[in-house]
Symmetry: C2
Subunit: 480 residues, 2 copies
Amino acid sequence: MFEASVYLNRRKALLERMSSLMTGDKGVAVFLGNVDAAMNYRGNDYKFRQDSSFLYFWGVDEPSFAAVLDLDSGDECLYGNDVDIDDIIWMGPQPSVASKGELIGCKATAPLAEFDKVVAQAVSAGRPVHFLPPARYYNTMKLSSLTGVAFESVRKVAPMDVDSGRHASEELVKAVVSLRLIKEQCEIDEIDKACDLGYLMHTEARRGCKPGVLEQEIVGRMEGITLSKGWGVSFTTILSQNGETLHNHSHHQIITPGRLLVVDAGAESNTHYASDFTRTYPCSGKFTTKQREIYDIVQQANDLAFSLTKPGTSYWDVHCATVRYMLEQLKALDFVRGDVDEMVAAGISGLFMPHGLGHNMGMDVHDMEDLGENYVGYGDERQRSPLLGMGNLRMARNLKPGHIVTDEPGIYFIPALIEQWKREGTDKGFVNYAKLADYYDFGGIRLEDDVLVTPEGARRLGSRRLPITSADVEDVMANE
Amino acid sequence: MFEASVYLNRRKALLERMSSLMTGDKGVAVFLGNVDAAMNYRGNDYKFRQDSSFLYFWGVDEPSFAAVLDLDSGDECLYGNDVDIDDIIWMGPQPSVASKGELIGCKATAPLAEFDKVVAQAVSAGRPVHFLPPARYYNTMKLSSLTGVAFESVRKVAPMDVDSGRHASEELVKAVVSLRLIKEQCEIDEIDKACDLGYLMHTEARRGCKPGVLEQEIVGRMEGITLSKGWGVSFTTILSQNGETLHNHSHHQIITPGRLLVVDAGAESNTHYASDFTRTYPCSGKFTTKQREIYDIVQQANDLAFSLTKPGTSYWDVHCATVRYMLEQLKALDFVRGDVDEMVAAGISGLFMPHGLGHNMGMDVHDMEDLGENYVGYGDERQRSPLLGMGNLRMARNLKPGHIVTDEPGIYFIPALIEQWKREGTDKGFVNYAKLADYYDFGGIRLEDDVLVTPEGARRLGSRRLPITSADVEDVMANE
């Protein structure tokens, strides 16, 4: 964890932003940490992962903690239970809750049962009770039962003056997003470490990409590295020769010469900061001409996007420029025909890249996605597009120093999608299906780096960049 | 997964057992598979783990499935949703729900929304609706909302004629436990494989146990093996030089000469069967005399328990005989003084081993613990002891061929517990605290194998046994 002042300053900043958003009785902001999540039975739990916003403001990386920040008085209190002899036998001696409070600069601490009482008091006094939309079912239940907000409204975000505030607080969501979106130097340092761990994972994957190897074998070795040196994976590893499936989590195939292996994976540091990289490897160590043509387009698109990433532009515009570049190149190869401007407007790139250029990254690999993708990636700046691909863009904001985004263009040949477009005429005559017919067994290619927006432009995170040009990839694979 | 006939026969057997337990309108048995469990936000989920009982009867290892078995008509139906184009883009083409039904010999399938309707119909017709106590919060909520059973009663188990059946079904729990407790040959084969994977994990741990190594480094390498060749770990790995803490999950210490390293870890196969082994290593490669004295008692106790494990005895009796042996040996070393029979009756062994000798193991490492420890490990055969240690015994049943149990005696020196007993006189004068004063920094020792009860006696599972005698451990550590 960071120094106490880091957490203290974050809570102070939160208090200020909340105050600037409201007048009158501001109420209380309540924060629920996560409880353990049962894997197959309660007691046999998944590895504990704290709620990211709780960790950001309150630092405690253990189950069953909560906190309240009084937005009127500025009073704050951390709630948790001290251990008893039974806990000591099973879990060992633990620092007191009071000493945990000291580590985050929070002087007041109390048993967890007091939290329920304090929230009940605020509710019965008619004070606004601000909470974030919870990711977990337990916290959804808990907030519903504490506040009396209907279960189905707990995750609904709206301004507190709507429907008597019986929902998650838009004011709190906006304040939290505004803080967490701009990374502090101590966070950037941790993300650089997570990226270095991602580098090791991907190096292991590339070395494992040899004909005859089971995909699962490689995945296990990669994840072993993240567990040895970090918290684990920042998301379920995508490693597949069916790269046309964007989030493919089955790893039962054998690496086969002639195919492409998409590896999209990242690590979470012990301090819970993420990395997220994608590389695509030729399973035989060399790209075919057909593969290289597509690969080079994606690699150039990745470079182009990076070169455009800087304050003064938006990631919306970077996405648009990148897919325009890819359409130009796909036109040169005769996959599409017609005017590129018209194709961009018609969303033709969605057939080849049905996802956005990238997303915010921080403590969560899609940062703060539990708070609502539009609050995080769009704010009040622009409206989401209804088009496939463009509409899947998770980060569209005007770029500012401290933003961390992924740069992950891709080109995929998805037989079911191509057939659907053909059947329904979605392509409006731009697509050359005769050419595509030869690409149904191609798979897909995606290339992804993690990028920090700096005052001057941008910096790729991590101390080393994974080999990415087709020549460099072939070179390094030939020597390992 | 297994052949369709395996699942079909299990459901047939369940139907018969339920029929034998009830008269009149038997009602319906409903089964909820698990949904994805959010790690930090919905969509960034923990690795999917199906509910074990769902997997046992319905075989489908994917989120968001459910099933109904009509106990009167014998009709059965599997519920799940076929994929749409959006799913195909992200998750790839998927077999139909109907074809998944065929794989488990279930002819009727329907969309998930139909499940809700069928349950609602049974409820409104006043038919008994049997369900198992769910491990997960989502399924707790879902069952409460479907059946109208109060949220806090969904996990309460009682006979269906109590309180109008508004709780989990004791009849269903008993029928499921009676089936899952006795392992089929196809299950034993899978557990043997999980044990072989456990062997590889522990071999990696022993080789990693060298002064200067970070504990987390070893844990990561062990878990990487389970992910490369199986589903992952069957429970969070316990690897600690603070072995006196029974379930220690922090791994931030450096391996230090002179200390003991307790490694309690197991693998889950790709088919979701568990293994669970414990070994304790001298960090310097050689036991001190003080360590060896205690180690040899635990190792002999482990052997003794195995030799007593056979049909015709109970695991209650095996536990008692094992702790009696340990008390005799501790008496010989002057840790305790007085009559051993009286010490056993007074529960003095609980100071040194505050846990039971072992537990059932199968698809869950503590098999079926979500259904209730007493239903699984005691049934109607005996009552749980109130004593520390004895009372923590999870498996006390009369042994039958097909039972799979762990054999895991241990001796620990837990300063907080010793101080408490001393302060409160819990030891009734049997304990020699002067001797114990020299053991506050000793740590703990636990040694665990997985054992199948056979018609003739018992067999240790896995094709090879991890080195366990103090001589063998030192030997193998000297050569690696």
